[in-house]
Subunit: 397 residues, 3 copies
């Protein structure tokens, strides 16, 4: 990206009507279309600065808390990279992976970790009905703490995956598409197949497919969701996708045929997940600590999965598409590589390995953009100031 | 805080006679009254700079080691915030929570983690007779390593809670009082009730009550310690409080009545702890690895606790006071909220939630002040230099 | 070190022919003699800057990944210090200490943790035939990711101990000798005894003795390796030492007598390790998860160790030397201190404690030098720029 291209994007940003200051990034559908576009623009501007050896360090000091209730490698490193790029030091908040504490404890903890904190990234995706609620509980506690003068400023909460949405993933995915097709406008009319795919594992969260249908229906895309009978998502997120598709001039269809979804698709996103009903049952059993029933649930769920082994993204499936772009949030279950049979054939994955890596590479910048837009009063002016400052990210560049 | 108020505090600091350079902060009673006041002043100056968007970053690089032998959320984040504010990167030293290693191992470890280290924060409060000793062993090893030229400079050791004192807590508590009453001088004659309170838990350390009576008796306060029969503290710390109260023109009394302590109190600090004798026995059993006896000790201690359920800070108790300020190091055991019955009634805690959060909010600045005063040769000049430098903590502020 | 002495070293650096840019530091014998000398020079220049309060911070932001598959205190802190000194924030990559994942997983992980990463330090020394292979797999994956445009720049991989070499240790040890004897040239003809020593523990890696014979034979030293029958190293590393000694005009001998090795030695490095054959067997059993056989292997290995209790570095042994310098990578097993009988007598260790600590103190600077030389296009110019910039490491210095 040239400096001119960076400047062009800053100009584009200037035109956006934004109400992002002090607002958390929890669900993409709580942001306006212009705000989503602004997030893409800022992510690209920051990536451009990195490429031009210009430091976008906004803070001289400040903490960024990371609170992961589930394992993570790529999101953890993306968050760490984003915070570091802006000048924040990451401090992990280690919580046992047990049931989430609520009420007084959350309210107090939120304040106690935030006296000099600028951002709080949270992954909480294990319990249905918990993750999003927990993030809002933290957010509410932070609001109270700022209102009562306990905190000097309001850290932004960034959803690093909840039970409902995975906005840093979906936004990185979307930015990948924007660059692949040559602009947000070019997404209109493109068909994307978000489909279930077979995997010999169980209990994968619903947040990625929900995040994808919840975001891609914003851009006038033809979003085709497909899964075997019973592998439904949270009903409200499906309803939302339907409404959004209508509003954006796109379409949203649900079927039980991978072939139908792939047919003439420009983009395919085949990925395993557990049925909504299983996740509800699992949440109940996890809460009850009923290990025996959990074992049995896993067994029966895997047995059910096995009935749909043909849901694999292979060359035959790909041939149905319009030379579609394959996407995945990684790691994918690759047939004959990471498992005997999985979500995607090795030949398909091999062809798209580099694009999927590039897809993942947008995440640090997307997270940095989310933080910047929530914390900076005049983003355009701040970015221009960074360009003028031209502080080198690396002595020698 | 205005820039003028910051300048006034720097002027006040100029007048203090200090011998803090190169000295660790292990026990408040090893510091002179002027040194304690200097610590308050620097903490407030740093807080003022934060409020005025001026970065107090002293270091361009350097490590701050954190060594926690016990769990911690608020002190861990306070230490991380303080170090980050001054420009230091926190590096955790992970030790298994087992018995402390001594001798050669400590001497060597102290040097090995300190080649480019500026501060070492240590929490070691589980074993009576261990925590303070361990911190001094580390400190001695650092002295040796500097004297023999192994280390280029001497990192400061900050006690983040030992078996004897919890100076970062007590100093934050005291600064809260200073600001509440309008100056260190205003503490004189104020009555503070440091009392035991019932909790359905066991084995809480003695360092907070000891830290409070060991510090508040320095300011001419009327310190009233109260606990049920048998819940004594380490005798030497009680003796010390007595002597200090006399020297400072205050008073120090011990009783077995919460009512008596609360009567006409200006400040109350009701908090559970385990009896000294139990802690001694527990230390012996932990060392011996005698799990059966530990279980039995816990059972009998909890049974004994239960005889004193009426030691609760409730509205009736509060009505005995002179509209006292309620204090707690958090988290408190709140009746009907975090437990069926606990240290404090929900209505009392609710009324004082914000003040207790604010109390905790002083800790990062107190820790930063401790580090600054131990490492900076001319604190007044350095703070003036920071004010002049006016390096922004955040680009946009 | 005076500023003049720093400048002299920069001049010496200017004369070196280097091909280190973009190259990992995995084995010392992959580096030319001039490159090793350049590493010493840069380490000393950085140490000199630290002593003169000049910040050598090259990066304004950037991550340094640390990936430890084995426990570590001193190397972990050395790496953290080095990265911090250069301006990088350390982010731990936590992997369970199980068998190493390979193939797709490694390829993907390497890219995912590197989008804004400048250095990756890896310790992987448990499985024979694994550590070095794993580091090269990561390195290859990084090359691919840069070539395909996934990564904007190539992080350097630094070997923080593999099954074959421990270059940050050996280079720090060598720099200690360089400064002890007054120059790299002075090492020629000096006799160093790298000997096995008794320890009541088992399974210590081979990388330190291999690293020492693999490095010290580069400088024309008389390297004398000694161990009891059966305690062989990886044959290829011994063969390499032999060839290098010949090429450098030194010598390399192997014997089964500690006395012979110590005789007239200028330097002694007595240290326990497990026999190559035992490590091979152990690797096989660890892979198979055969705990019973592992227990039996440990038992028989310890029993065999016990036959060589007289392999202790005591005063009698030291009297055979030319007032040799005692070296150790620490922690040493000290007779009567850390164990009943061990590698070194207490009186010998006591006399050399400070020198061994100083030896360890070179490691942060050696690591920083490795990173700098792999990432900076024109090291001489960059170091001169740092000197000119004169950015203070600490406000007050």
């Amino acid at each position: 990206m040239t400096l001119n291209e960076i400047t062009t994007r800053i100009e584009a940003l200037r035109g956006k009507r934004l109400d992002m200051l002090g607002k958390d990034f929890l669900l993409t559908w709580e942001k306006s279309a212009e705000e989503l576009e602004a997030t893409f623009l800022v992510a690209e501007i920051l990536r451009g600065m990195r490429g031009n050896a210009i430091s976008p360090r906004l803070w001289d000091s400040g903490l960024a808390v990371s609170l992961f209730k589930d394992n993570s490698t790529r999101t953890r490193f993306s968050y760490a990279s984003a915070c570091n790029l802006l000048g924040l030091a990451v401090q992990d908040f280690e919580e046992t992976k047990s049931q989430v504490a609520h009420g007084e404890t959350v309210r107090e903890t939120a304040a106690m970790i935030s006296f000099l904190t600028e951002a709080i990234g949270i992954r909480d995706d294990i319990f249905l009905g918990e993750g999003d609620r927990f993030q809002r509980e933290i957010a509410g506690a932070l609001d109270d703490a700022v209102a009562s003068g306990v905190l000097p400023s309001r850290p932004v909460v960034v959803n690093l995956q909840s039970d409902i949405d995975h906005p840093t993933q979906a936004m990185a995915d979307a930015l990948h598409l924007v660059n692949h097709f040559g602009g947000v406008d070019r997404l209109k009319g493109k068909k994307i197949a978000m489909t279930w795919a077979y995997s010999p594992s169980y209990g994968k969260p619903l947040s990625v497919p929900q995040g994808i249908i919840g975001l891609m229906t914003r851009f006038g895309m033809e979003v085709s969701l497909a899964y075997p009978e019973g592998y439904t998502l949270i009903p409200e997120t499906v309803e939302l996708a339907r409404r959004q598709a209508m509003a954006s001039g796109g379409s949203f269809t649900v079927s039980d045929s991978m072939e139908e979804a792939f047919k003439n698709a420009d983009v395919v996103y085949p990925k395993s997940w557990a049925p909504y009903a299983v996740m509800q049952e699992r949440t109940k059993l996890l809460r009850a600590g009923d290990d025996a029933s959990l074992k049995e649930l896993e067994r029966s769920c895997l047995a059910n999965n096995a009935r749909y082994r043909e849901w694999e993204c292979n060359e035959k499936m790909m041939s149905l598409t319009r030379e579609a772009l394959y996407m995945h949030c990684l790691p994918a279950d690759i047939s004959g590589v990471s498992c005997a049979q999985g979500e995607v054939a090795a030949s398909v994955f091999d062809r798209f390995r580099v694009p999927t890596y590039r897809e993942a590479g947008y995440k640090p910048y997307v997270i940095a953009a989310m933080i910047l837009l929530a914390r900076v009063r005049r983003p355009t002016e701040a970015l221009e100031a960074l360009l003028r400052r031209k502080s080198p990210r690396f002595l020698e560049e």
